[in-house]
């Protein structure tokens, strides 16, 4: 862990120059960066929409935006944040960058597909932004029929196609990851020697490959319904609008695990690195990822409890939703227990990981409340739901993403970021987040429906708190944007392994060379082993083979 290659060694960043070299790159690391830039743009636009939402909701009267405008704003907020930011976020950036490194491979299985998947996201995003500029969509990110198919006079088709294309980006990423994990592992890298990050991505990829096509066909059917009135979702033609909801949530519930699983993988890595200890219950965490991915396909009906499904199926979906919480519980407890007799370092990534545990727990527990039929009856389609999913998606998934970004930033860019600012940002995000979204639980139980641009005055206090919190949160998000950008030029040069962590990615230079490892690694022991060396590079030390 010593030789911080001080000379401007050849690495993936300086191996070739020019925009063209980036736009045609097949290097998974560069594609990861392309993705990172792209999703940051989408996050900023989505965040701008969130800002508008919170500004509007600071007062009960719908005085800032027209109702029509407001509807478009929260719809674009949801669509951009979910399909163009959070779904690709960790897998396509950190996952892309790290999977081959962690497995000791030279690249992902299909580098060209990998690049193609980025272009899919860009093309889908461009279409969606085109729609946004020309007036947007107002269906909500859920595109419920028959509103979307027969009544909305906004750019439903264009956006639908945009999301459709972005979906293929996700599918291609998933195909790539599964093939990579099966076929590209370095010698000695058995399944149970893989980092938990890889397991999490395996589970994620499974959902991406087998879930995403269903939303694709659903959106296609929506476009057909809207264009040709084939009738399947249109009650006036004999169709069933609830069928759309089934098809939509068949993907979109598992999709929430596309968003959270990679984040859980990041947290496992961070916890191991900053406790310098093997994560407690490695196999339980690994299998719980698969468990979540599979059980996640059984519960989509909990979004439809009061939508007109049979009471019988509501009962079935409710009890199944409870089951999916068990593997999540296993993870949370295992992480916590890892801290026991550990060597805990309070570095910035660790702050995010601990924040993740807390916020995800709250988000998850309120998810279980929503899965409880008697409660959902009252709080569905209220701010309680909004609070729940921002806790898991913003408090959970984004915390994990930021944590991972701070953890691997030295590896990715070869630079360190300022410690003080990064800790301050983590704190601001945590405080701002809670201030923004905790009041929404109360609002929800009080009965404030979601997707309301005006509301009765008695809800104002809580809404003002929420808007105030959002301001803090925005600052918290803007800080990393600034200091991370700053560090790329002015940051201290990062050594190979700044955290003293164990993992193949820390065995190569920062930033890594284009081919990742000069010599193919050989793995001789379990992951996270801080007591002995388990990675070897045979050409250097031939006897270790």
């Amino acid at each position: 862990m010593s030789t911080a290659s001080s000379a401007p060694a050849r690495n993936y960043l300086n191996s070739s120059y020019g925009l063209w070299s980036w736009l045609t790159t097949k290097d998974h690391k560069r594609i990861g960066i392309l993705y990172a830039i792209t999703i940051t743009v989408f996050f900023a636009i989505g965040g701008l929409m969130a800002t508008l939402i919170r500004l509007e909701l600071a007062t009960p009267a719908g005085d800032l935006l027209q109702p029509d405008t407001y509807n478009r704003v929260f719809t674009m907020h949801g669509i951009l944040m979910v399909f163009f930011f959070l779904v690709p976020s960790i897998p396509a950036t950190l996952g892309n960058f790290l999977l081959p490194l962690m497995l000791g491979a030279k690249d992902v299985a299909f580098p060209k597909l990998n690049l193609a998947s980025w272009y899919c996201l860009v093309a889908g995003g461009a279409l969606t932004l085109w729609a946004l500029i020309h007036g947007g969509v107002d269906t909500g990110w859920t595109f419920y029929t028959p509103y979307s198919s027969s009544y909305s006079n906004t750019w439903v088709n264009v956006t639908g196609i945009g999301v459709f294309i972005a979906g293929f980006s996700s599918i291609l990423t998933g195909v790539n990851f599964i093939a990579t994990i099966h076929r590209m592992r370095a010698p000695g890298m058995t399944w149970f020697r893989m980092p938990l990050f890889v397991w999490a991505h395996y589970a994620t990829a499974l959902i991406q490959v087998l879930g995403t096509p269903v939303i694709a066909i659903t959106l296609l059917l929506l476009v057909l319904e809207r264009t040709f009135h084939i009738g399947i979702f249109d009650p006036t033609l004999g169709g069933d609008p609830v069928l759309f909801q089934h098809l939509f949530w068949f993907y979109s519930h598992p999709a929430v695990y596309i968003m959270i699983l990679p984040s859980m993988g990041v947290v496992s890595e961070i916890i191991a690195a900053f406790t310098r200890k093997r994560v407690f219950g490695y196999r339980f965490i690994a299998f719980s990822s698969l468990g979540i991915a599979i059980l996640g396909f059984l519960v989509w009906g909990h979004h439809l409890f009061v939508a007109g499904i049979s009471t019988y199926s509501a009962l079935v979906f409710s009890v199944l939703s409870m089951l999916v919480a068990v593997p999540s519980a296993i993870k949370v407890f295992n992480w916590s227990a890892t801290l026991y007799k550990a060597s805990v370092s309070w570095e910035t990534p660790m702050l995010y990981a601990l924040g993740f545990i807390g916020l995800f727990t709250i988000g998850g527990l309120t998810g279980v409340m929503l899965a409880t039929l008697g409660i959902d009856l009252h709080v569905t389609d209220t701010y309680f739901v909004i609070a729940h999913f921002h806790y898991v998606m913003v408090g959970g998934a984004i915390m994990g993403y930021l944590g991972g970004l701070h953890f691997w930033w030295p590896k990715i860019t070869g630079r360190m970021y300022p410690v003080f600012w990064s800790k301050l940002a983590a704190l601001l995000v945590f405080v701002g987040f809670n201030l923004t979204f905790f009041p929404q639980f109360i609002l929800g139980y009080m009965g404030m429906p979601r997707r309301y641009h005006a509301y009765p005055p008695e809800f104002q206090v809580l809404n003002v708190m929420s808007s105030a919190g959002a301001t803090v949160l925005a600052v918290g998000y803007m800080l990393p944007l600034i200091y991370l950008a700053w560090s790329m030029r002015y940051g201290r040069k990062a050594p190979e392994n700044p955290w003293g962590a164990v993992g193949l990615e820390w065995e190569t230079s920062s930033p890594p060379p284009p081919e990742n490892f000069v010599h193919t690694p050989v793995v001789t022991g379990e992951a996270y082993d801080y007591t002995k060396k388990v990675y070897a590079f045979p050409t250097q030390e031939a006897e270790l083979v």
């Binding site: 109702p67 509807n71 419920y144 028959p146 509103y147 909305s152 009650p235 310098r276 093997r278 407690f280 219950g281 409890f305 009061v306 939508a307 007109g308 009471t311 509501a314 009962l315 409710s318 009890v319 409870m322 919480a325 068990v326 519980a329 296993i330 407890f333 916590s336 227990a337 890892t338 801290l339 026991y340 007799k341 550990a342 060597s343 805990v344 601990l354 807390g358 727990t361 527990l365 309120t366 279980v368 899965a371 409880t372 039929l373 008697g374 409660i375 959902d376 009856l377 009252h378 139980y445 009080m446 009965g447 997707r451 309301y452 641009h453 509301y455 008695e458 206090v461 801080y530 007591t531």
Partner: protein, 312 residues
């Protein structure tokens, strides 16, 4: 402004207590587990903080049996939540036998209600306290949702079909009525009030210009004006089945299938008579689709139902 910071909405129905009960229970569970994890994480992270830069974590782990504990205990708790929540939900979804039927037609962006007495109102619903009421609802366009926070219940209103929601108000007062399913531009303004009144006040309200014609009576009138009675007569020589006493029975069709004579069957018979042709009759009944409104349809159904006497 600050005095207005309650944590609960009004509670004004028999269901409210039940929903609050399961809610409070699960809030307690959530608090306990969040606190447990927060305390555990923070104390461990402080107690075992890194003392010198090269320190590595001990290889020692807590006992493996914990894995079992923290899988089974949450599962057990969640099953309790499930059964409790399921009971409340089944109660909320099972319409009590003594419920009085009110009608709601939702459209963008208004509510049309009709009382059993025939009184109609828009965006306001007056109900007597203590009476069990079932709203029979349909939509003229997109999906809406009948939501009264004080009653702790809601249900989507799906076009092309009837859904129901029932409640029994327990407290006189005025409560919010919200549309809780996104339905377009004015979704947030598609609200109104539910006014719960003492039975006396309610009677009075009804008689003060709000009487209207009972749906069954309007239905009877329609039965004449639409010439239903030219075929559906009470004599046995009629060209069409006798409707008296038919409600609730099983009807046999020409193709041998059977159907239950219920509201939806009547609806279908009126809108699409050829779909199910009663055994022993010719498919001569014309469709009335497009000729009558949703409101009139409800009135006709109520009338046909009334031919089978009170109750079901």
């Amino acid at each position: 402004m600050w005095q207005n910071l309650p944590l609960f909405p009004d509670s004004a129905s028999t269901l409210a207590g039940q929903v609050d009960g399961i809610y409070l229970f699960s809030v307690a569970i959530a608090l306990i587990f969040s606190a447990l994890i927060a305390v555990m994480v923070i104390t461990l992270a402080i107690k075992y903080r890194r003392r010198h830069p090269d320190q590595i974590g001990s290889e020692e782990h807590p006992p493996e049996i914990l894995e079992l504990v923290w899988s089974v205990v949450p599962l057990g708790i969640m099953l309790v939540m499930f059964f409790w929540g399921a009971r409340v939900f089944v109660t909320a979804r099972t319409v009590p036998a003594n419920a009085v039927e009110y009608h709601a037609v939702a459209k963008r962006w208004m509510w049309k209600f009709q009382h059993p007495s025939g009184a109609r109102e828009i965006n306001e619903l007056h109900v007597p306290v203590g009476q069990t009421i079932v709203m029979k609802m349909t939509s003229e366009d997109v999906i809406h949702d009948f939501f009264v926070p004080a009653f702790r219940t809601k249900y989507d209103i799906v076009p092309g079909r009837y859904t129901t929601v029932w409640f029994q108000a327990t407290k006189v007062g005025e409560y919010h009525l919200f549309c809780a399913e996104y339905c377009g531009a004015e979704h947030s303004r598609m609200g109104g009030r539910v006014v719960v009144m003492s039975p006396r006040d309610y009677e009075e309200w009804l008689t003060h210009g709000n009487a209207g014609v009972a749906p069954a009576a309007s239905g009877a009138e329609l039965f004449g004006t639409l010439a239903c009675n030219t075929c559906h007569k009470s004599d046995s020589a009629a060209r069409a089945p006798k409707l008296d006493g038919a409600y609730g029975t099983q009807v046999t069709m020409v193709d041998g299938t059977t159907a239950k004579f219920d509201d939806d069957y009547i609806r279908e018979s009126i809108l699409n008579p050829q779909a199910k042709v009663v055994s022993g009759f010719q498919p001569i009944m014309p469709t009335f689709k497009g000729q009558i409104s949703e409101d009139q349809l409800l009135q006709l159904i109520t009338y046909v139902k009334s031919l089978s006497g009170p109750g079901k």
